[in-house]
Symmetry: C3
């Protein structure tokens, strides 16, 4: 894979650029990722631009054979924009406006923010779109990091419109959500609040259907913002790929990354972890979104076992591998005394600088030519189910941790090649397909699972499979999958009548295929035994 | 005792009612409790009513021999009311208005809320007051649950008036509270704030006298709201009893339930517990309020040992026993996958459905004819003392837990029959009377205790007895009880001069009576030994 | 040392004063500290004063040979002032205004608060400045206790002015802080916010340079308020000393006490601790500020080992020792059942009353005549470093605990005499000088340390020495001290290249002097070994 690194030319005097580029050249690093937080340097006043430093730093890089991934700087609206249009700032669920002075202080529902974002992206696209040394584009930075949710008045109106578009009539929404419970029935869209804390004396929480729809809406708001930037860039950049750097899965809650990357060219991801199985999971998860090699946009340059981690990542289809970052920040919120970068604070090479240098000297082939997966296991990751568990008060579960630590870890340690599967259409003829915690029912998925087993596949699901509908409401009829795949005839859900003392609650063969129903609350160790037993049975 | 269950006809299509009623009939359940959260279904728009569903569900029930306890729906003001009069919503101590979208979002000090509540209760009283199938009325739901305290402007004015009524002059209040401390002296009633968080950099808290009065005021506000509803109902309902479903003692803090039930006809209570001694305590506590059989308004239908629990409750004087609830809620804040109801989500009987069926088949007598208590032990529960400890910063104690777990549990496990005693007038010729944590002084209580011992009773008190006056201020003179019952002559409180290393600090005989002073901070095990020793001494 | 006690004549009827003074006289207590919270009693209405009680209580005291330390009452603005000028109240970082009803509810940036404070202090100075029985003055109470930080609009403007004065141009501030990071560049002073919580969905925090400057500014605001009071008092009080009662070091964060006491006459401190080494440290720290005997303004009258503690304190140069307090408060936020005072709630002498009585009977000499320190060890305490660590998110350390528990404790238990050193000018020819956690670089300090070692001193520093500059930004060049004292030639900080597995990372002799570089993160036990080894080497 090709190595790159995050670099901030705006942090340096221009004399420093050739010194730094020389250091990269010597380490065999042919790519830098730049400008992701540089809005205030590019546009220091409303409509006044300073392109010189960016022009020159890109040109200088070319002289050292260093290509540039150019980032749009929209994660950091400058002070003049915030001051002129305070609605640029989003509102926290506490009711307080997010303050200027960090990053991601922007509302995706502010027309002013959208217009100014569009303008700076347009100008960058026009100026650098055809630049021979700009090899790719990154949209924004870590969408959904600091501010995924926005509780502003504009966000509320957009959410109400989202609901109106989805449910058609308020009566339909009332019916779907069961607002008859506790007299929560709405009469107009404008009455529907955002799911802010209820503020009662004892613990009380918003309606779970409202919560789930707001999670979906908030993910969609981010995706639409990315789409806007994509539409601006495409006409100017030719074949250059567009990605973004997703901070996947772990950041408090999730964006639906499948929707985010649906029209982008390559999946980019950031990961900070020192656990091999976690690094492996997120690599597999990234490749699987578009089922093609992915880019690691940020990987900690201070990793304790960088060679090991790079091997894990490369084996799973990483095409470009960007370290974060070239230098320590002496100031600002991410200031540090160094050690997590390629250089020290005084500018000397770090331990991992040498690791990278050795890697680039040894590398002779390109990953695209070599890479092929032969995944025999599919592991289903379902964003709606993840959100449903995250929202739940009486039955909250850490969905991502469960998938990664209870299920994937065993597969990783058994050296299974794994695809992460996100949609029914991605289901292939795996030897084994596992759906942990897939609490949300989808008819298309039900059909796909039945077909998969009928075609001879081995299917593992947990006892909470298909308990809730699209509005986060419990089903009151047992889905047909249980009858078809488990020969389950009772007019009761399995857990209503079967005492769950064994990890495997039900198992049933259907032709050459077979299905297992696993008790949801078993431990990581029990999952390992289950997977070993079922794998042995394959 | 007669079995009932919470049912929500407004959650169902009318075709479902006879199916459900049949299930109840088959289980021998002759009573349902309905309509407690149905305001928006009864009055979907301001002044527009929909009685049909309620008329019919009551009529249908009659056909199956099922009587109805009808609840007033005031715990859930509809969205149109909140939208029209935002002052309906109470304000949390954080300063934020409680949001629509759960329950108990109502200010007892909002004239609009009171007027609309009165109107819906009046209309229900007129329509159903004489209905032959309505056997009793429940006011609202779990008073003081989500919102006991209200920090709104209207609440503040009402509180200031409460203080003016109680203290007469601001000088008297300043004197009683000791506002000379830290220059907190007030000049006018309007200057007195609600006890909101102080917001200093380090922990600081409101004045303890202000806090205690606000706890009293807030309890009183709930009681007055219940009285209003009672006054509306009485002229229309004949001899039908009125109750409410108290969530006694445990819900964060307490209402003075003795005041709440003083004019009602029967004590109703909700309890969710799986500890036998706790179930027993709250049963004894409920019966003792009015010293007559009580109603269990909500008991978890999913209880693991329902038969055992029912026996404990019945033995202590429960007349009607309502399970919560017939069916799982698929949606809303209390949604669940089932298991805690009489039916499963698919409508099939649960385990406890069969438990109830067996119970009703075996039951041949009515509790009213059988029931009699012969309590030999009185256990004092003092709401003001409970609040004083709850408010305390430097000496906070979980009053209710102490009473229940440290003291009552031993009595329960020794098979003592216990009355809970709330007022001096309720003190009878018990063999043993225990007052744990009775930190608040009351002259009438002091006289009653002296008389009790003089008449031969055995009295157990803790070392914190009678340390504070009605304004939550420490006494500076030792009350005479110590001299009279313990022959205590020193001009010091006992704990100032006696080293407390033994559980029993003092014991003293007065004629045939005897008094014990117990170290407050002893453990549950030491309490058991103390009670065993004193009981042996009886 | 001379004993005193906090007394509150305004809490008593005047008949009580002679009774109380007699009790003090009998215990040999010749001093009371009064009036610190008495504003509302002295000025019950705007411009209406009641001096009688204070006149008389001072006069009465004189009759019993009891001198008075008179306190300014500015920590408790009365309700009428708050009502008239709401800007008197400071704003918490939550954005909520601090409420009336406790203490320290005052903004040092409110012109109204300043004017009214000045007036009451002026009137007291005029009335009591020359009173023969007033022996000293205390300013306010525990500056920086409940409210050091103020996030009001006035505070913001003052902070912006502070920054303008310090940095000159906004470009200089942007440069110094590195606001290019994340596009945080400011254009005008008015754009700079206070470091309030950022309110993002995941943890995010304000800029560390902004935070440090706000800590400095907030300390300075308190010092300027004290100066104002000092200026008012001086013309009226002759030679009477002025102090204040600092709650040193522990109260959440620190004021720069060296600046606070720079122009005052004596260092006064409050301490509540039962750990001998902590009591000793704060005593040494207090004496060292002005390098002369100090006053203990509040020491807990309920201390479990009062004689031991008094010996520790006296040995370290305490001249006056005030107990807190004579009597329990029955009401208010500090109400209690007694035991921590000289009298019980009923007015009887407590255990420690007798301890004090024995002490005063035995004392025959005055500390001023006896006292001399021969400190051989200097321990550096650096307020800016303390704040930098307190602000840090990724590398937060409890600076004061580290200094006291990891370093000072060993010195104390080895019976070393210790000066606490705050400024380069205070460095003397100690045998040993220790600077733990001195992360902030100061050129003057660097020179002083070099000179100290060149003159034969032994110097101990930690690996984080001099890593950050005055703006809380990491240095990118190694300070010359490392080359000069450790012969460190590398263009890297030590921790970038030396593996820190031993407590002593570097040691180097320079003539007769010697320097040790200690791994910052060693334990308390390792510090003991290091100090023993180095002391042995002396």
């Amino acid at each position: 894979m090709e190595i790159g690194v995050a670099y901030y030319p705006e942090h340096e005097k221009s004399e420093q650029w050739p010194i730094d580029y020389k250091k990269l050249q010597e380490a065999g690093i042919p790519t830098i990722r730049i400008a992701e937080f540089a809005w205030s340097t590019l546009e220091p006043e409303d409509g006044q631009y300073n392109w010189t430093w960016l022009d020159e730093s890109i040109e200088f890089a070319a002289e050292f054979g260093i290509g540039v991934v150019l980032c749009t700087p929209t994660a950091c609206p400058p002070i003049w924009l915030v001051e002129k249009y305070p609605d640029v700032l989003p509102v926290h669920k506490s009711g307080k406006t997010v303050g200027f002075g960090a990053r991601q202080h922007r509302s995706y529902y502010s027309a002013n923010y959208l217009a100014y974002s569009k303008r700076i992206v347009s100008l960058m696209a026009e100026r650098y779109g055809q630049h021979p040394n700009v090899i790719a584009w990154q949209l924004d930075n870590e969408f959904g990091g600091e501010t995924k949710y926005d509780y502003s008045e504009y966000a509320k109106q957009a959410f109400q419109q989202y609901l109106a578009d989805k449910y058609g009539t308020i009566a339909h929404l009332n019916q779907a959500w069961g607002t008859v419970f506790w007299s929560q029935q709405y009469q107009t869209w404008a009455q529907i609040p955002l799911p802010v804390p209820i503020q009662s004396d004892v613990m009380m929480w918003p309606h779970p259907s409202l919560e789930l729809e707001f999670a979906r809406f908030s993910s969609q708001g981010l995706v639409q913002f990315a789409r806007m930037q994509e539409r601006v860039l495409r006409p100017h950049i030719g074949e250059r790929p567009i990605t973004t750097n997703g901070f996947m899965f772990c950041w408090g809650d999730n964006i639906n990354w499948v929707e985010m990357f649906a029209t982008l060219d390559v999946v980019g991801m950031d990961i900070y972890s020192d656990k091999p199985h976690e690094i492996a999971f997120y690599s597999d998860a990234s490749r699987s979104v578009l089922n093609k090699p992915f880019w690691m946009m940020e990987y900690g340059a201070g990793a304790g076992q960088l060679e090991r981690d790079m091997r894990i990542i490369e084996e799973r289809g990483c095409e470009r591998f960007f370290l974060f970052k070239m230098k320590p920040f002496p100031w600002g919120q991410e200031q540090g005394r160094g050690g997590k970068e390629l250089l020290t604070l005084t500018g000397e090479p770090s331990h991992n600088y040498n690791v990278i240098q050795r890697y680039t000297e040894a590398a002779t082939t390109k990953v695209e030519d070599e890479f092929q997966t032969e995944a025999t296991v599919g592991l289903y990751y379902h964003f709606d189910s993840s959100w449903s568990y995250q929202i739940s008060v009486s039955d909250r579960l850490p969905y991502a941790n469960y998938v990664v630590d209870n299920v994937y870890r065993s597969l990783f340690e058994m050296n299974k090649q794994v695809d992460v599967v996100y949609t029914p259409r991605q289901i292939k003829a795996y030897e084994l397909l596992i759906l942990p915690l897939n609490i949300m029912y989808e008819a298309e998925l039900e059909e796909a699972l039945i077909a998969y087993v009928h075609n001879g596949g081995k299917l593992v699901v947990t006892t909470d499979l298909f308990r809730k509908n699209d509005s986060n409401v419990f089903l009151t009829e047992v889905p047909k999958l249980f009858r078809v795949l488990f020969d389950w005839q009772a007019n009761n859900f399995v857990t209503d009548v079967v005492d769950i003392t064994q990890p495997i609650v039900l198992e049933h063969e259907t032709g050459r295929g077979k299905s297992w129903l696993i008790a949801r609350d078993i431990s990581s160790e029990e999952w390992r035994e289950v997977i070993e037993r079922i794998s042995g049975a394959i």
